[in-house]
């Protein structure tokens, strides 16, 4: 993403992708592209949707900014505040809880020194709890960007954290690319 005077702007490749998505819906129904385009916008904006970015999306789809805000605030995958480079989302609904999700959350808390909803001081990790990820047979489960990690144990968590630290993991990549 290029930025001039705080006004975001997608590069050509991303704009082409947006155009291609808009064409999936009937003429005049370009607002239908809002959810997919917000996913792309978030990935281009360090994993969160700033007011400027939402205004930009409104201009791309030729809709009012309020139509973007009301949607962005409804869906749990959109972050309206800055997040860390790597957002770790731990499922804690029934089936994951039955299989030890609380221990996994406690383990992340201990290793990262933060509680769910917080970001580490170095900005590398954000910890979140989420509701059912539809992978209950392999509980406990976490999601990081587009990756699922399943059948988690404390040992697996340690290995993952080590790997993510080593490779400076960024979870907000463009989901279409």
């Amino acid at each position: 993403m290029q930025e001039k005077n705080n006004i975001p702007e997608f590069n050509r490749e991303t704009l082409d992708l947006v155009d291609q998505i808009i064409k999936r819906y009937p003429a005049g129904r370009q607002k239908s592209a809002l959810l997919p385009v917000l996913h792309i916008a978030q990935s281009e904006n360090s994993g969160w949707l700033s007011p400027e970015m939402m205004d930009y999306v409104a201009s791309l789809l030729d809709i009012q900014p309020i139509e973007v805000y009301e949607v962005a605030s409804f869906y749990s995958m959109y972050n309206l505040k800055p997040v860390g480079n790597c957002v770790i989302e731990v499922c804690h609904t029934g089936p994951c809880w039955l299989n030890g999700a609380e221990k996994i959350i406690a383990h992340f808390e201990a290793r990262l020194g933060i509680k769910p909803g917080e970001t580490t001081a170095d900005g590398k990790f954000t910890l979140k709890t989420v509701e059912c990820l539809a992978a209950c047979g392999n509980a406990p489960v976490i999601q990081v960007g587009q990756e699922y990690h399943e059948n988690l144990t404390a040992e697996k968590v340690d290995n993952l954290l080590e790997q993510w630290k080593r490779e400076n993991k960024v979870s907000h990549t463009n989901p279409y690319l």
């Binding site: 999936r24 009937p26 129904r29 607002k31 239908s32 592209a33 809002l34 959810l35 997919p36 917000l38 996913h39 789809l61 809709i63 139509e67 009301e70 949607v71 409804f74 869906y75 749990s76 995958m77 959109y78 804690h92 609904t93 029934g94 089936p95 809880w97 039955l98 299989n99 989420v130 509701e131 059912c132 990820l133 539809a134 992978a135 209950c136 047979g137 392999n138 509980a139 999601q143 587009q146 990756e147 699922y148 989901p175 279409y176």
Partner: protein, 433 residues
């Protein structure tokens, strides 16, 4: 051997590849439908099959299709509900990930039957990696002439697209899904009008679950009567059951409807019994929304008949002693599980997922969670237990969409069957587990 329609070839390496799927007989249903059947013929076969919607509500698919106003000059739409989010349910993820062409083939024959020339697969945003697998398969189907203009020279054209959600269980409710597909908040619409009359962009629309649609190619190939020959009573065909919790073999199983519950839980072919040799305590048989049943009532009806995995048998006894087949999300709990704590996670889920439109659901789900936190945390009173029952009663049936019911039923049933466990929490002023 039980018939397999959805998992038949699931272990074949590279099944997600067009060529592999095609060699196994893939896309023959499209050829048969477009070359030898009229759209009404296809609908007729689906009606004959007795197939019911596999997303949870169990509405007969053929009947749902027949509500479409075919004479309407507006475009018709088929939309696949891939918003799988009901706790305990993880069957649809499997289909798109491993066998996307069977879903696409189902979308083509379904769209043909309905007269739709544009169709969408609405998939929950968390499953973006599955969306990409499906989009790759869609591209292959276009390249091979099964999508796009004038498919197989039949004159029938269809465009098929994926559309991601962004984290909202409520979008599994079909009118909320359509709102979301239109780029809005997922607030369910007031019905009537039903989507078959006023659906996507105000046009006649059918919304069907992934598993329902993936079953269509088999029905077209083999005929509705062959499908109806499988199963028991009005529970026709096969069903995917996603089994999880305290069992030895969690996973996705395709059963012929009518399999005894006891066999499903304890045989090595399916769940393989309870982990660590523990005792079966309770089962939530059809996703988090359906009433929980204690071990004795899930294995046998109140009348002492063996309970079967079918719409009718699981519902036997009504909500007093029965439950529902629902989505097939089968959550098993052994004697170490705390019913109150498990219920609290469900209550938190429904509070989180309530869209907030209707006061009974918006407020009620929040109250139920708070009271359950109190009981589980050792600060509950005996009156709290009755208060929960009272709130559940007032949420149920008083909302635009079924999320209110879905939040109320688990609370009401847990107290109905495990009241002494709630009372124990109150007496001990802590969780006994």
């Amino acid at each position: 051997m039980a018939t397999k329609i959805l998992l038949n070839n699931i272990e074949v390496p590279g099944l997600a590849d067009f060529q592999v799927y095609r060699k196994l007989g893939g896309y023959t249903a499209v050829e048969k439908a477009l070359k030898t059947l009229t759209p009404d013929d296809v609908t007729e076969e689906v009606k004959k099959s007795g197939l019911k919607g596999r997303g949870g509500a169990g509405f007969p698919t053929g009947m749902k299709w027949s509500f479409i106003d075919k004479k309407s000059e507006k475009a018709k739409y088929l939309v696949c509900n891939y918003d799988e989010s009901e706790p305990g349910t993880f069957k649809d993820r499997h289909i798109g990930q491993l066998n996307p062409h069977q879903l696409i083939e189902g979308m083509i024959v379904g769209s043909y039957a309905l007269g739709a020339t544009t169709a969408y697969i609405y998939i929950r945003g968390e499953l973006f990696y599955v969306l990409r697998i499906i989009e790759k398969a869609i591209a292959e189907a276009y390249q091979n002439g099964f999508l796009g203009e004038n498919i197989l020279g039949s004159g029938y054209s269809l465009n098929l697209y994926c559309h991601p959600g962004a984290g909202a269980y409520i979008c599994g409710e079909e009118t909320a899904l359509l709102e979301s597909l239109e780029g809005k908040r997922g607030n369910p619409r007031i019905k009537p009008p039903f989507p078959a009359i006023v659906g996507l962009y105000g046009s006649p629309t059918v919304v069907n679950n992934v598993e329902t649609i993936a079953t269509l190619p088999w029905i077209v190939n083999n005929g509705g009567e062959s499908y109806a020959a499988i199963g028991v009573g009005n529970s026709k065909g096969t069903k995917l059951i996603s089994a999880c919790g305290h069992i030895n073999k969690p996973g996705i199983y395709e059963i012929e409807l009518g399999l005894p519950v006891e066999e499903f839980i304890f045989s090595d072919e399916y769940c393989g019994g309870i982990r660590n040799g523990n005792k079966l305590k309770a089962v939530v048989a059809g996703g988090s929304s359906v009433p929980i049943l204690p071990a004795d009532l899930i294995l046998k009806t109140a009348a002492g008949e063996p309970r079967l995995m079918s719409y009718e048998s699981l519902a036997e006894g009504g909500f007093q002693t029965g439950t529902m087949l629902g989505s097939g999300g089968f959550i098993v709990m052994d004697h170490t599980a705390c019913i109150v704590k498990n219920l609290l996670t469900f209550a938190r889920f429904y509070r989180h997922e309530s869209c907030g439109q209707c006061s009974p659901c918006r407020e009620g789900t929040s109250w139920m969670e708070k009271i359950l936190m109190r009981i589980e945390g050792g600060q509950g009173t005996m009156k709290d237990i009755d208060l929960l029952v009272d709130i559940a009663k007032h949420v149920e049936g008083n909302t635009i969409c079924p999320l209110g019911d879905a939040a109320a039923w688990p609370v009401a049933s847990a107290i109905r069957h495990f009241r002494e466990e709630f009372e124990e929490h109150v007496k001990l002023q802590k969780c006994p587990f």
